[in-house]
Assembly symmetry: C2
């Protein structure tokens, strides 16, 4: 039979100005001027070597305050329900979040970035370098999001719908 | 003190033609014609609703066969070492992989896609819809990868360097 859970190591913690789940930017594009940092646990600091040459990084983190997972949700950017895997809503079966952020500096076991759309104290799972030829999809079609403002994340902030 | 591990639910399993870690495509861009599927556990199938309207999905999965995590690695695409967080190498502290794949079909609790660069039987952690205005970074600069072929993942396959 298939495993139903996985245990992953955490590599550090995210520091941001966001202390509560309400009224947060819902994506990095709504937080372009908001600075955050990833503080790695000392034993992992060496792994940041050469990341400073990249303009963007992909952060994967534990959505540790999300709760009330449902399979259909009304996301921040719509008024009707969609399947959870067709949304970026935080209350997912596996509470993992992903943000592509712009790198400001890398030094002393710390990555400083802009685009901070995470809660302060969020546990960090992984950092990957953004590689345009692999990660960009210039012809992407965005389903129900196609009919929304093309940069809606810059306008929308969270509310309390996914708070416990 | 900070937590050092996180337990995440798995939502399904990936089916691909790749039975061994050697000679695999190292990114979806090297597997554009290779079909795979994500089979969700029945209790999560409803969460796929409306994903079929998107052209691309982000798959997050457990790199369950990676081993020998090191903080500096010589990645498939270079001959010198880099910090693990400046590479996409599979042997990371948190063994989590990410691939952006092209959606072929969504039905009966299953997502069929092209761009299959994962091992058959890989445990699936999450599916997120790709949203161009948030996920694309047209001005991205790629550090040490900038000096490599701009589409090297289409040429390179894995070898046994990260096998146990």
């Amino acid at each position: 039979m298939f495993e139903r859970e996985v245990v992953l190591k955490l590599i550090g913690v995210l520091h941001t100005p966001h202390q509560t789940l309400e009224d947060m930017p819902i994506q990095p594009s709504g937080a372009l001027d908001i600075e955050g940092s990833a503080e790695l646990f000392p034993e992992y600091a060496e792994g940041l070597t050469d990341l400073e040459g990249f303009s963007h990084a992909i952060l994967l983190y534990h959505l540790h305050k999300a709760s009330g997972c449902k399979l259909r949700v009304k996301p921040f950017m719509d008024t009707v329900e969609h399947g959870i895997f067709a949304t970026r809503s935080p209350c997912r079966p596996a509470a993992i979040g992903m943000s592509v952020v712009r790198i400001s500096a890398v030094a002393d076991g710390r990555l400083v970035f802009t685009g901070a759309d995470m809660l302060d104290g969020t546990p960090l799972i992984d950092i990957k370098p953004f590689f345009g030829p692999v990660d960009n999809q210039p012809d992407a079609v965005s389903g129900w999001l196609e009919t929304k403002d093309k940069n809606p994340a810059g306008l929308r902030h969270s509310d309390n719908r996914f708070c416990s």
